[in-house]
Symmetry: none
Subunit: 184 residues, 4 copies
Amino acid sequence: MEAFAENGYAATRVEEVAKRAGVSKGLLYLYFKTKEDLFKAVIRNFVSPRLDALIQDIGNSDLTAEEFLRGPFLDFAKKVPRSPARVLARLMIAEGPKHPDLVAWYWENVVSKGMAAIRTVLEKGVRGGEFHRSAVDDFPQLLVSPVLFAMVWTQVFDAHDKLDTDGLMEGHISLVLNSIKVDR
Amino acid sequence: MEAFAENGYAATRVEEVAKRAGVSKGLLYLYFKTKEDLFKAVIRNFVSPRLDALIQDIGNSDLTAEEFLRGPFLDFAKKVPRSPARVLARLMIAEGPKHPDLVAWYWENVVSKGMAAIRTVLEKGVRGGEFHRSAVDDFPQLLVSPVLFAMVWTQVFDAHDKLDTDGLMEGHISLVLNSIKVDR
Amino acid sequence: MEAFAENGYAATRVEEVAKRAGVSKGLLYLYFKTKEDLFKAVIRNFVSPRLDALIQDIGNSDLTAEEFLRGPFLDFAKKVPRSPARVLARLMIAEGPKHPDLVAWYWENVVSKGMAAIRTVLEKGVRGGEFHRSAVDDFPQLLVSPVLFAMVWTQVFDAHDKLDTDGLMEGHISLVLNSIKVDR
Amino acid sequence: MEAFAENGYAATRVEEVAKRAGVSKGLLYLYFKTKEDLFKAVIRNFVSPRLDALIQDIGNSDLTAEEFLRGPFLDFAKKVPRSPARVLARLMIAEGPKHPDLVAWYWENVVSKGMAAIRTVLEKGVRGGEFHRSAVDDFPQLLVSPVLFAMVWTQVFDAHDKLDTDGLMEGHISLVLNSIKVDR
DNA sequence: TATGAATGAGATTTCATTCAT
DNA sequence: TATGAATGAAATCTCATTCAT
């Protein structure tokens, strides 16, 4: 994963992967038929347990929607942009269009689940009278777009303008809540 | 640009670029010392005139901040995610870390200018009493993160979930404005 | 060595070297980073064991200086001009100025040692009263210049005037000895 | 000539020759059909007028053979090793075997004439009773071998051991004369 | 299971030569 | 006569993949 993350799929040499794994090139070909196979396996095995945990939380928790957003979700949103997961995001952006089955797998196992989870929280908020209906109901992506943004920014522009990702996430959540919360 | 956008830097053959340009491989090497040089030149010559126009607008316009966000800015935000610029964004994300001078150029000529422009609009809004202070003043990135998000999504996940980018942008602007506008 | 000797460095194709070695182009690049590396390795591994033997002889032998020049040295001088070493000489002349580190290596490991050996013999002759002081003490090169001359001539002008290299060498030694020997 | 001398035939680019000549590549091809044609023309036009002058001298002069060797010949032998002609020698050694017609031309116009001239001088010496018969009569090459040697050495080993070419030549002539002069 | 030497197809790069102007 | 943009064949070099051990 390290190697692919640094150089992208095409520019990563199989030998480089073998070296970092401490094995010979030949052994890789015993386990994976082609370089692409190897790449896919690498990506698939790199699933964030954090996201799964978060999704689990939603069902089990007895927090209000706002508490959830300010608590576990914000937590998650703060950790991800500087976690190893960010390189996976970059890889998916870079290589996705050339590896549709990888995107499909990623969509099914990660993205769609995540989106569903967010919808669940928002609906809970609306039903419970915490939130009024708003754009985020139709576009739950608005809730996560700064997360993606931060993952990208930290990998591309950090040298020119280091982003306070924690602050960004806190600001984002307060901005959204300020917009969708029902006044009492 | 087409070729690099489709395949990424490493996977694009110089011959492919030459063929699409309707010239011979050799000619490219007459103008560019290496494949990397060629790549950099391609990227640099692909500046969105749209962004420049938008930045110009800000100085000249006599619109209120809200009118600006709902007008020219929303316009821009709707057009970009499906414009050719999106492939440039993807290329920068994919190849940036391996080509720091390209990132530096892009930062200076595009990103920092854009960020400054947004700050100008927001300050105008605050000074004019339209907006109260909020997270977007510290993190103007929050205003553009859905634009990046949409550019990425449309290139990676469109096959699985086609995003209504216009709707997303409208929703985003209304969400933000709802949060930062001063009540009267 | 054959290939480089025939065509010179620039005009020799790596593929040609590989073919003569009975391996693939790729393998050469596994062992040598560049064509130049390969070339240097070829040259360095082509050390004449004959010269080393000659140099050894000087220390060990109990011959008089004249006997040495008429014996082992003349032997060496007769063999070299038509030995494989001559192509190495031609290569060093042709390619040396473009590969200074190769010249440096050759100087240290071959030429300077050879010159020192000749000086040793001449000094022995002078000290032993065989030879009087002469120009060859200051310019031991005079003793070997016909060897180089013959190596060059046989490679360039043989078709036009075949040189009797053995005769040349014998004539040279007798000429020199006639000039430097002390009359008794 | 400069360009070919520095890099050898194969490694010299036609463009480099054109640049140094201050003309365009295209113009060269107006005057010379191929790179090889150009090369041959360059070599042929670079004839040392010095050698011709020397050869003339022999016929005309009323010097004794010894006076000639110590005078005009030594003069010539001192000048040549550091003159532009030395690069021509290196080129002939390097490229000769690949360009037989060039060697043939050079042989006819330069080398054979030079050798004949030397023979003339030596015969004059022998006939005039100055010299007794010796190896140089059969191998006049012995008289010029230090000249070639010095031309090569100065181009290959000067950085490691700068040769006093004037001293070398004086030593050579005195050594030879000492050997072949008739005692009186 | 594991190695690493070896291959060969294909990529980048070079450069003699041509040709429209 | 002169240019220099353009070509394309061939060179160097890379690297995924194979295979004997």
